[in-house]
Symmetry: C2
Subunit: 163 residues, 2 copies
C-alpha cells in the first residue's frame, strides 16, 4: 500500500512540495487583488456571519496575533470592518463588506482556475478521487474546516475550558 522506500516518494513529503507550489501559484493570482491565500479563509468565514476576533482565530486555527495582522490588511482593502461591541467593549465584531464579498467571489474563481491547471493531466475520475481522498485525509487529521492549517501542535478540536 505504501510501496515507496524513500522519503521523497512519500505522501508526507509530496504533500509538502505540492502545497508549497500550489500556495505559491494561488498567491500570485491573488496578489493583484491585494489578497493572500490565508485571507480567503477569513473572508469566507465572515461571509456566513460576523464574528469576534478570538472566535475567528480559533475557527481558522491560527493564533490571535495573526488574526490582527490579517484583519488590518483586509480592513485596509475595505473588505471588512471591526465594530466595537457595545455590550462588551473589549470585543470587536468583524463584519464583511460588500467589497469583501466581491473579493471572496473573485478569489474563489481564481482558486478554481488554479485547480484546473493543477489537475490538467488527470481525467475527471482521477481528479475526483484526489479531491475526495484529500478531503477525507484533512477531515481525519482534524484540520479546521475552513482556514489555514495550524503549523504544528495546536489541538484545535480541544481548545480547553477557555472562553
Amino acid at each position: 500500500m505504501q510501496p515507496q522506500e524513500s522519503v521523497t516518494e512519500s505522501l508526507a513529503f509530496l504533500l509538502g512540495k505540492l502545497g508549497q507550489m500550489a500556495t505559491g501559484r494561488f498567491a500570485d493570482r491573488l496578489a493583484p487583488l491585494g489578497l493572500r491565500p490565508r485571507h480567503c479563509a477569513v473572508l469566507e468565514l465572515l461571509a456566513t456571519a460576523p464574528l469576534g476576533q478570538l472566535a475567528l482565530a480559533q475557527t481558522i486555527g491560527v493564533t490571535p496575533s495573526v488574526v490582527v495582522d490579517m484583519l488590518d490588511e483586509l480592513e485596509a482593502v475595505g473588505a471588512l470592518r471591526r465594530v466595537r461591541d457595545s455590550t462588551d467593549r473589549r470585543r470587536q465584531v468583524v463584519e464583511i463588506t460588500d467589497g469583501g464579498r466581491a473579493l471572496a467571489l473573485s478569489a474563489a474563481r481564481l482558486a478554481k482556475q488554479v485547480d484546473i491547471e493543477l489537475l490538467r493531466e488527470l481525467d475527471s475520475t482521477q481528479a475526483t478521487a484526489v479531491r475526495e481522498g484529500l478531503a477525507r485525509v484533512a477531515a481525519a487529521q482534524g484540520l479546521p474546516v475552513t482556514g489555514s492549517a495550524p503549523t504544528r501542535n495546536a489541538a484545535p478540536t480541544d481548545p480547553g475550558p477557555a472562553t
Copy 2:
C-alpha cells in the same frame, strides 16, 4: 469536475493546508535524528552519487545559499562530507557517509509511518488513487523529481544573462 465555489474547498487551498500539516508532522518525527524534511532530499540524492553543490542546488530546486546551510547542518551530524576537488579547487564534491545512509533509511521509515497515519481513513484503492494522482500532478507541474519545491518563479534551468 470542480464542484466547489469557495477557495477553502479548492484543491489549491487544501493542498496548502495539508502540506503544512504533513510537513509539520514529519518534521516532528525527524527532529530526534537532527534532521528536517528538506535534508532528506539531499541525502537521498547523494545516496546515488556524489555531487557538486551547485548541481545539487539545481537538482533539488533550491538556491545555492540554502544548500550551504543544509550541508552545514548535515555535515555537523556526520551525514556527509565536502571534498575539495583537486582538479578544480573551487568545487567541493559532496559525499554521503555511512551514517548519512543510515539516517536516510531511518527517515524513510518515519515518512512511511506518517503516510500510514495520513491515509488511515482511506482504503487501499483510495490511497493508491491519491498517491498516483498527486505524483502525476507533481510531474505535470514540473516539480523537481526529488527535493523541496521552488517557492515561486525561479526557472533554475535558465538563470538568464544576469549577474
